[in-house]
Point group: C2
Chain length 187, copies 2
């Protein structure tokens, strides 16, 4: 079970058994059913979540109650409302299961302890953060430069598996386009 996390970390930095045991001791395993919430707007954000299996959506809900998808979290993704997590404030985003999901949870306190206790893990999280930043930057460029249809085609190319797993209305909410407009692209 925890092997998934170990392999994930070892893609970036090698760990011996003792080190991984130390790492693993900071996590707790939680299981959720489709439609359950890991984070709700206004509540405390206790954990950063490593997705062992399943699929989640991180959502911003606007004044009109319209949902916008900040990101999808599949296997091997880390996900949380990170602003609230790092600043230990209340959630402005929600995190909800699109499928039955298993996550490994890391509290903010344990996150700090882990980094302080094992130098390598601070390095690991730095790499993760850098990749997250670069991914966001690429998405911004896509939003600035491409039409809705082009963004849809880019998404198909980059994440073909997503299309099988989530309804198109959610892809639309991720791309920043209406459900109906996206529907007309397929033709």
């Amino acid at each position: 079970m925890q092997e998934k996390l170990r392999q994930h970390i070892e893609k970036i930095i090698p760990l011996n058994d003792d080190e991984f045991a130390f790492v693993w001791s900071h996590f707790t395993v939680k299981k959720f059913k489709k439609h359950q919430f890991l984070i709700q707007v206004g509540e405390e954000v206790k954990y950063s979540h490593f997705v062992a299996s399943g699929l989640l959506k991180l959502v911003y809900t606007d004044d009109m109650e319209k949902q916008h998808i900040v990101s999808f979290a599949m296997e091997e993704w880390w996900e949380s409302d990170y602003y609230a997590f790092y600043t230990q404030s209340k959630a402005t985003l929600s995190l909800e299961c699109l499928e039955d999901t298993v996550v490994f949870c890391l509290s903010f306190e344990d996150y700090r302890k882990l980094c302080d206790g094992l130098q390598k893990m601070e390095r690991f999280f730095l790499e993760k953060s850098n990749f997250g930043f670069l991914g966001s930057q690429r998405r911004i460029i896509s939003l600035l430069t491409s039409s809705a249809q082009e963004r849809y085609e880019q998404l198909l190319k980059r994440s073909p598996s997503l299309i099988q797993r989530v309804p198109k209305s959610l892809l639309a909410a991720y791309l920043g386009v209406s459900r109906e407009t996206l529907s007309r692209f397929s033709r």
Copy 2:
């Protein structure tokens, strides 16, 4: 001169004189005039830059030769084509001075040495990366949820100083809206 960098770092982690001397030894100072390029598309990206004074634009140029502004870098910002920097590949973005500018340059090699030699600096860069990621995420949400006019008003509120320093055509290129459309908002 280097005091600016020290104060900047000490907002996040305290340093004694020896530690800062060690940090500073990894940087080189460079000065540029308005219109000069720090990074050009296709060239190597040697440095991450700390802006001591001045103003820069990080630009993505599309197939139609249209410019899109990934970010503005003012005093105390770190800027580079970070994808190319981290992967040591060729630049896809350009970095150009909008004003006469002084930067402190950190090569990739020195960046690694700095992190390895002084634990605290890895921590510092992790904080920076996290903030960069959160900033990008907020901009994505803004692009997904708000009209061009709303995004303009948000920018005015968040960075009123920018408006004095850069032509509106560049603000438009940052917001993802045409120069003409942005011009009509002021009324």
